[in-house]
């Protein structure tokens, strides 16, 4: 499996250092680093299809730090309600790391602005945007389009969210060479932009990465899953 350890580092902990590594990889070799990350996610998801493993759980990801077979799921598939530990207690470890990050974020800019880094596949430099300046995905899309001239966000549904109910529309988008925005959320996961209400996105987005639709394939299944659960 190509360079899974590196990508696993990037995927796993959202550490500032490792993400910069991937940026360098991007600049030097185009999209290799990130596509590997996407491959890794795809692997894990197909293996865990019947479980309710929480991909957001940092502990899950950090447990693969030893040299086990990386194609195995990082933790046992969870059975509902087992072990018999209450919800608030399960999150002790996850909350610990989240609190640290939230504190850093709060210390950084207060509630006045919400700057996040934006990178684009193949672009030689990163930009920063203040998410609080916009009120919808369309506005953000317009602003990003100005920043990266050969960039399109694709079509949005009537509510300003990508129409995930339409599987074929989504697959068309992802199979094209159109660019698709993705973002890293509070838990360190990479998500497709557009599947949650705008405000929720602003609150949880830590950085943006604009990549080719074909590279974003690995992110799509989760979004579809969420949509199915909601319907």
């Amino acid at each position: 499996m190509m360079h899974l350890k590196e990508t696993e580092l990037c995927l796993g902990l959202g550490l500032p250092g490792s993400c910069e590594q991937t940026d360098t990889a991007l600049k030097a070799t185009g999209k290799r680093g990130f596509s590997e990350t996407v491959d890794l996610m795809l692997n894990l998801q197909t293996k865990d299809q019947s479980s309710s493993v929480d991909m957001n759980d940092k502990k899950l990801q950090s447990s693969t730090k030893n040299n086990k077979d990386l194609t195995k799921p990082p933790a046992k598939a969870q059975v509902v309600g087992w072990p018999p530990v209450r919800n608030y207690r399960k999150n002790v470890m996850a909350q610990k790391s989240n609190t640290e990050e939230t504190e850093k974020a709060v210390a950084g800019g207060g509630s006045a602005a919400s700057f996040v880094k934006v990178s684009m596949d193949g672009a030689p430099y990163l930009r920063k945007v203040d998410l609080k300046l916009y009120e919808s995905y369309q506005q953000l899309s317009d602003a990003l389009a100005k920043m990266f001239s050969s960039f399109t966000m694709g079509n949005y549904g009537s509510q300003g969210m990508i129409d995930f109910m339409n599987e074929s529309k989504l697959m068309d988008l992802l199979n094209s060479s159109e660019y698709v925005p993705s973002y890293e959320d509070k838990d360190g996961d990479w998500m497709l932009v557009g599947d949650v209400p705008w405000q929720m996105f602003v609150d949880s987005c830590k950085r943006l990465r604009i990549m080719k639709g074909s590279d974003a394939i690995g992110l799509a299944p989760r979004a579809m899953e969420k949509c199915k659960n909601r319907s």
Partner: protein, 582 residues
């Protein structure tokens, strides 16, 4: 039996009976004792809100000062009861509001509480002194604001492990400035900030405050201020126990040393070990210490525990490791209760060296130990046998081996003999939770020996219906039985139908109990509600021999309930039948 005592004398005698089991027993002696008793019972305990209904309560007891109600079954704690199942307290509040104007204490557990309900409580019970909501949900800080604003006599507001919708941080400000009666405040379950200034003012004007359990968002730097305002505290729960630098250390240590009555400490989220010694001055006073959010390593945990010579209750994460538990065994000779939670329940391999040995050490060193909840990754029959022989005084034994069906890790055999030894030696055992690889044999031992067992929890265990049969036919004192993922089916259940009327409830999920058996049981036993909880579609077209997802069986004097969601069916009762006690 003719009435030889005047009623007043009987009432006076009954006033010495405080436990509800004694009161219930006394009310069964004769009709006149029943009548006398019901007029003077003022504390009512209802272990299953659907066993009776609000009208039954108010018709029987006329002057109630304190009521305790429990709603959802225990496995709701682990997400096994779907959202919307029931257990809403509002109808109770409406009826009690109508009759019990002098109500002083409300204690609810696993009930759904709404903001409207809290508003009714706040406005309907002017004498309310105690409001304890344990593992409840459905309400928001708006409901709490109503309580704060209106309950002029409130002494206790305890939100124990509730899920609260946190709309505003200002609900605490709704306690009027003239309100000075607060004795106990527990807001540890809230995840958002509360207004610190409101909290500080409230603490400052509450001279009787004995219990204060903060939530995670209260920073360490503010603790000394609060402790200085309330040095009379007996129970204190910190917020996040970390800070940048050590500037806050000396004032914190000084503040703690001023708390001469402090007996219980909890909180300790995000612990920075350097701050732990700030509590050393009170350690020798402590009888209860909850470090279950303290994600620090064993040496730091052991150090603080080694100062706690009078500790009776310890709750801690498995970060304590076997070595830390040895420290417990040597330092805490008065320990009665030990709880060890897993820090990383979903990782397959052990992330810390905590094994069965830790528990064995504590069972050897702590002669007063009677209650255990222990999560670990390996167990052996020999360890269980040792524990049972060391501590025959154990009354509550809950062991969770994280991987289901784990055998004895030394011999690879089932853990039947180990648990068998527990029930045989610990003759006062009232509560047992088992895990690991277990065959029908263990149930035979339990049925034979566990005569005082009141509550039993079983998961991923047993081979055949015989297992369930041993339990139901052998455990004379059994009142609560909860089973998940066991190969128990219709036979044992139907053969022991009458036993179920002697119990509060039976829960079985992911077992082999069929729709047909549930229907038959419901038909045969009019005083049982056989609730099938099943979220599949087209329930009506599922054949009768197919197993149900979940079944919850409980005795009741009220028959049907009418607040069921569509995934709950009460089986075997004609819809038109309503069992009304009139």
């Amino acid at each position: 039996m003719t009435q030889s005592f005047p009623e007043e004398v009987l009432e006076h005698v009954f006033s010495f009976l405080t436990s509800h089991t004694d009161r219930n027993a006394v009310s069964l002696v004769s009709k006149s004792w029943y009548d006398t008793e019901r007029w003077c019972r003022d504390h009512v305990f209802i272990g299953n809100c659907y066993a009776v209904n609000p009208r039954v309560l108010t018709r029987r007891f006329k002057e109630v000062k304190a009521v305790e109600l429990k709603g959802k079954p225990h496995f709701a704690d682990f997400n096994l009861v779907p959202e919307g199942w029931g257990g809403c307290v509002d109808p109770w509040i409406v009826e009690m509001g109508r009759v019990y104007s002098g109500l002083e204490e409300i204690r609810l557990k696993r009930m759904e509480v709404t903001d409207e309900g809290l508003e009714m409580v706040a406005k309907g019970f002017g004498k309310l002194k105690v409001l304890v909501l344990a593992s409840c949900d459905g309400f928001s800080t708006d409901g709490l604001a109503a309580v704060a604003a209106n309950c002029r006599n409130l002494r206790v507001l305890d939100l124990r492990e509730c899920e609260v919708e946190e709309l505003s941080c200002h609900w605490l400000s709704h306690f009027p400035d003239s309100f000075t009666l607060l004795e106990s405040l527990n807001i540890a379950c809230l995840s958002s900030e509360v207004s610190f200034s409101a909290l500080e003012r409230l603490v400052s004007r509450s001279p009787n405050l004995k219990t204060l359990k903060l939530n995670r968002t209260v920073p360490l730097e503010k603790l000394s201020t609060l402790l200085q305002r309330a040095p009379q505290l007996v129970e204190f729960g910190t917020g996040a126990y970390s800070a940048e630098g050590l500037d806050a250390y000396s004032s914190l240590a000084e503040a703690f040393s001023g708390c001469k009555k402090l007996k219980s400490l909890s909180g300790f989220w995000d612990v920075i070990p350097a701050y732990l010694p700030a509590v050393y001055s009170v350690c020798s006073q402590l009888t209860s210490l909850n470090l279950s959010y303290a994600t620090t390593q064993s040496p730091d945990l052991s150090k603080i525990i080694s100062h706690c010579h009078n500790l009776q209750r310890l709750v801690v994460l498995d970060y304590i490791e076997d070595t830390g538990l040895e420290t417990v065994a040597t330092s805490c000779k008065d320990l009665k209760e030990l709880v060890v939670f897993p820090s990383d329940p979903y990782v397959a391999d052990a992330n810390v060296p905590l094994t069965e040995q830790g528990l064995v050490s504590v069972s050897q060193g702590c002669t007063k130990l009677h209650s255990v909840l222990y999560f670990c990754r390996q167990m052996s029959n020999s360890a269980l046998v040792s524990i049972s022989k060391n501590r025959p005084n154990i009354t509550c034994f809950r062991l969770c081996i994280l991987e289901p069906r784990s055998p004895d890790y030394l011999t690879l055999e089932p853990l039947d003999t180990g648990f068998g030894s527990i029930v045989e030696n610990c003759k006062q055992l009232t509560r047992l939770s088992m895990s690991g690889l277990l065959t029908d044999r263990v149930f035979e031992y339990i049925g034979k020996h566990a005569k005082k067992l009141d509550m039993l929890s079983i998961a991923f265990a047993g081979d055949t219906d015989l297992g369930l049969h041993y339990i139901l036919s052998g455990c004379d004192s059994l009142r609560k039985l909860e089973i998940r993922d066991c190969p128990f089916g219709d036979k044992a259940l139907l053969a022991n139908a009458s036993k179920l009327e002697t119990m509060r409830s039976l829960w079985m999920s992911s077992c082999f109990v069929s729709f047909g058996a549930c229907k038959l049981l419901g038909q045969k036993m009019p005083r049982l509600n056989v609730e099938v909880i099943d979220e599949r579609e087209n329930l009506n077209s599922i054949p009768e021999n197919v197993p149900v997802e979940k079944v919850y069986i409980y005795r009741t004097v009220c028959g049907q309930r009418f607040d069921m969601p569509d995934f709950v069916r009460i089986m075997g009762k004609d819809k038109a039948d309503v069992y009304n006690l009139s």
